[in-house]
Homo-oligomer: 126 residues x 2
């Protein structure tokens, strides 16, 4: 079976902040063959811990983590790698790879260029 | 002349956090016809105020602001619109349009799908 991918967002106590991430994960799940999960680093559920535990129970042997971050700050340089190490120690059957944050992938930069050049997008609704 | 676009990032006191945004703006500037500026909402320079003042001095009459955010939280729903309103009041010759955050544009979601399906990307360097 395909290895699953965990979209890792920062998290917030504000449900209005989380809504677009939920919508994004739903919309991607519908069009990809990769089993997709959404996890939050802090402040709200589901946590990375609970998502990893669920994947282990489902019998997966590997998972990639794609941070929904524009850049790698302290969280991605220190906290998340430490968290992933601890999770692998607890669930030895599952290897976990932390991918570069979305903002560092060339496809993201191409998308940004196309958004800027084709500014027919609707303006931000308040 | 083409209307300029301001990439608006959150901002941080950590120069390592800012480096990818600077690199992104540089890389996009080199391939787009749109005059591009990078501004930070808080915690570091250049501020939106100083970038807008520079565009007014350069004679521009309109600028779009594209938030480098995945979703519209309180900052984008309240603080930034208020800031833009105040800037337009101060610089009446310049109209400013706040676009939807990057994360809400379909091109971004397409990019995410292609990153996930073509996971040959280099893993995150610590």
């Amino acid at each position: 079976m395909n290895d699953p991918l965990i979209l890792l967002a920062h998290g917030s106590r504000d449900p209005r902040w989380r809504a677009p991430f939920d919508a994004l994960a739903d919309s991607l799940s519908g069009r990809l063959e990769t089993p997709l999960r959404l996890a939050y680093m802090e402040l709200c559920d589901p946590s990375l811990e609970s998502v990893v535990a669920e994947l282990v129970t489902a019998g997966y042997r590997h998972a990639d983590v794609l941070p929904l971050f524009f850049a790698a700050g302290r969280h991605l340089r220190e906290d998340v790698p430490r968290q992933i190490e601890a999770l692998h120690a607890r669930h030895e059957t599952l290897t976990i790879e932390l991918l570069a944050p979305v903002g560092e992938h060339p496809a993201f930069i191409d998308a940004l260029a196309s958004i800027i050049e084709g500014r027919a997008e609707p303006s931000h609704a308040p």
